[in-house]
Amino acid sequence: MSSTTNPSTHHTSTIGAIGAPSRRNTELALLVFAVVIPVFAYANVGLAINDQVPSGLLGYGLGLGLLAAVGHLVVRKFAPYADPLMLPLATLLNGLGLVLIWRLDQSPRLQQRAESLFGSFSPDAPKQLLYSALGIALFVVVLMLLKDHRILQRYTYISMAAAIVLLLLPLVPGLGANVNGAKIWISIGGFSIQPGEFAKIIIAVFFSGYLMVKRDALALASRRFMGLYLPRGRDLGPILTLWAVSLLILVFENDLGTSLLFFGMFVIMLYVATERTSWIVIGLLMSAGGAVVVSTFASQVKVRVTAWLDPFGCYETSGACEQIGQSIMSFGSGGVLGTGLGQGNSDLIGFAANSDFIFATVGEELGLAGVMAFLLLYGLIIERGIRTALAARDPFGKLFATGLSGAFALQIFVVAGGVMGLIPLTGMTMPFLASGGSSVIANWALVGILLRISDTARRPAPAPASNPDAEMTQVVRP
């Protein structure tokens, strides 16, 4: 108030971040880099396996370059102030994922395995390139149609209903498909879709809209007990509901990943919205309790826990144990610098080697150095997401960006932890890297939404207008 009540202090100053206006050229340079690296990797795989530069190099490089160019031009046009790093990082991961999938397509072991199981072998890399194109298309649609992320706030409760429907679809008889015990797919006309991947974005809308309205009640009404603010009994309603829903997912869909993702995302957003550490403590206790109870009763979850606790004890008898065991051996034989692209034996994992277990190929062929670089690439995407949340001005955008990056981070933790044997394996896929359409498409949409929020957040504030005090002093001047 002082600046308007005291005319002598009209030399007020505003402090803002120094922003090169848009940084689109930085993004373009990084994108070129992000296309060149996978092309190099592709040539490397071909030279290692077949002693020649693969014939698809030009087509592949042009395909990836075209996708990156379309993404960049759309960002330039529709979100000129968006974060310069997210698009190149996602492009690089997507491109390297394509290379790794192509590398596993070249494996004679996996080709034989597919022929003996399904009668024929079809390479996954061309399909994945198509899915990536669809993902970029959805990214473009998000940036073009979603002019302002605050519009999504209007659909708070509709998105809750939509997310629940999506999560329950795999349980509908005739629509749901049971793949290795986990019922998280639906199949429509020959395509199998994992609705949970899309539900994670939609439910973030609901969580942010809901917590924005309720956060005062959840944060302020509490008693202090042993250094923690304990919420009132009735404020535990939402977290208990979410807990019950994620346990139901765990029991009926046999999928640890999805339930962990949704409950974890809610706890993260609850913590960010209320600044109360007690919610994290309560959330961890509830998820630990739920996990223990379910893992003793549900058979599919029990198998996974056994495979996690002692993969080599049941290596000969159980397929799940053999997979984990092979994955751990891949990481081990990779060492620090890896065996080199195309020269590892991660194809011994067999089933899901190029989807759930693709990170084991990174671990074997690029070693610890490569794994760390990949984790840092993911970490940078998450950092940009959180940074967007910090810069966003509206509480809905803040919570939404936090929720999306939190879900992304949790997914990476759950998958990487699963294949490394840190936590029981879950049926989730590494974003952008793993073979699978739903995952790559949904994650491109997620990046599109984060770019939209960051465009709004980083857009420079309009120049401060004339200060009425100063004008009046000028009027007084003779």
Partner: protein
């Protein structure tokens, strides 16, 4: 392919991958360091001499009366800009709709401010297209320039409306 070539390619690839990570981190640095201090007083005098001169000619009361006439149609505001407070930089296009301000979450501009009431004020166009600000019985009041509002008041272009820590303006 010789062992040596493959080893060089393997290490080269890791180096390139890490180079990308390092370059990306360098880009982030520019977001972490450095702030810009804008001197609002001096900037206005140099940057907007015409506007300052025009407003110098018309004292505030005259501006308010004149704004209902021909001058308003020529220079009707098209957007509402938040110029101070945590929402600084937010703009809302003025398209003939009523804009509500307050802490209530269904307000057009949601003010996260202890000094704002849940339904604090509204800004709406009258029949002539003149924008009016009206205080909706707020606890701490709405200020147009430095006068507390008691009745619905027309908003002159560039005048600041203050609610708690937030200042908004209408711009062309």
């Amino acid at each position: 392919m010789s062992e040596l070539t493959l080893t060089v390619m393997r290490l080269g690839f890791l180096a390139v991958l890490w180079l990308f990570v390092i370059v990306a981190v360098q880009v982030i640095r520019s977001d972490l360091f450095g702030t810009r201090v804008t001197q609002r007083g001096s900037r206005r005098e140099s940057g907007r001499p015409q506007q300052a001169a025009r407003q110098q000619a018309a004292p505030p009361q005259q501006r308010q009366q004149a704004s209902g006439g021909g001058r308003q149609r020529r220079g009707a505001p098209t957007k509402l800009v938040v110029s101070e407070g945590i929402l600084t930089g937010t703009t809302v296009a003025l398209q003939g709709q009523t804009i509500t301000l307050g802490r209530a979450h269904d307000s057009t501009i949601v003010l996260d401010d202890d000094y704002a009431s849940s339904r604090h004020a509204r800004i709406y166009p009258d029949r002539d297209g003149q924008w009016i600000v009206e205080d909706l019985g707020s606890t701490n009041g709405t200020y147009l320039d430095r006068t507390r509002l008691t009745t619905p008041t027309p908003i002159p272009l560039g005048a600041s409306i203050r609610i708690g820590k937030t200042v908004i303006e209408l711009r062309k």
